[in-house]
């Protein structure tokens, strides 16, 4: 385990889109200020945004933990909410249970989790129905350049 350069938790409220994107915006500027390479920042921003929007869209509340070590940027989203009954199905591009209200805003393409997978070097999702969901990602500094 390498030493932690930065760590913070950002709370996110479920069900309201008023401030949606603020946490990921903050995460992006923190990473930039830490001098992280632009490609890693770009990937982290996408992961943070999709994680944030999923908490807003589906959960009651949650938080994102950002941690930075010399080797990696880790983004972990944890929420209290309905959970995901079939993670494999949820991972499929195009699968979505988004409400019509959420879809009207251009969310609900069923692309968020696949994007998180695509832009991370490792992804671990655990979820308990009726309890919540935990999405853990890591971006390696070196591989992303």
């Amino acid at each position: 385990m390498s030493e932690i350069r930065y760590e913070n938790f950002f709370p996110i409220e479920g069900g309201t889109f008023v401030n949606a994107g603020d946490v990921s915006s903050r995460i992006k500027s923190i990473l930039k200020n830490l001098g992280i390479g632009s490609e890693v920042v770009r990937r982290a921003a996408i992961i943070a945004y999709e994680s944030e929007i999923n908490i807003v869209s589906y959960a009651l509340r949650g938080n994102i933990r950002l941690s930075v070590t010399p080797d990696a940027v880790c983004i972990e989203a944890k929420d209290e909410g309905p959970g995901i009954p079939d993670i494999e199905l949820a991972m499929q591009e195009g699968f979505s249970t988004a409400t019509p209200m959420v879809r009207e805003m251009g969310f609900g393409a069923g692309m968020g989790l696949s994007n998180i997978k695509k832009f991370s070097d490792s992804l671990e999702i655990t979820s308990e129905v009726g309890q919540g969901t935990h999405v853990k990602t890591r971006i390696n500094m070196a591989e992303a350049g």
């Binding site: 889109f17 994107g21 603020d22 915006s25 945004y49 805003m105 969310f107 692309m111 968020g112 994007n115």
Partner: protein, 111 residues
């Protein structure tokens, strides 16, 4: 190419943030699905969309787009405009549709 030049040649309405007209447009992206735009658009893009709600500003800020172009006469919600003003994201508008707008802008940028 400068946003100002594109706005002038296509007669785009500036709905917000004139001060951003000097921005450089590096490319463009057409999309209404926010996850698609998040994943596939690039910094400096002029984002062409039909979406008008405030979340488009958050996406444009995250992706560092040069501006948002609302096509087919799309009118931004009041909250969209106030968020855009706060963030300094230019929002432009036009009556033409996404196909025409993209084609014309592509032509200007790739003569």
């Amino acid at each position: 190419m400068k946003l100002e030049e594109i706005a002038g040649k296509l007669n785009l309405r500036v709905l917000c943030c004139d001060e951003g007209l000097s921005r450089e447009v590096r490319g463009g992206f057409v999309g209404d699905l926010l996850s698609d735009v998040m994943a596939n658009s690039r910094e400096g893009d002029l984002w062409i969309t039909r979406q008008v709600h405030p979340n488009i500003v958050a996406v444009a800020v995250m992706k560092e787009h040069s501006a948002i172009l609302l096509v087919q006469g799309g009118i931004p919600m009041e909250d969209t405009l106030s968020r855009a003003r706060k963030e300094g994201v230019p929002i432009l508008g036009t009556e033409i549709n996404g196909f025409e707008a993209a084609g014309k802008i592509y032509g200007l940028m790739n003569p």
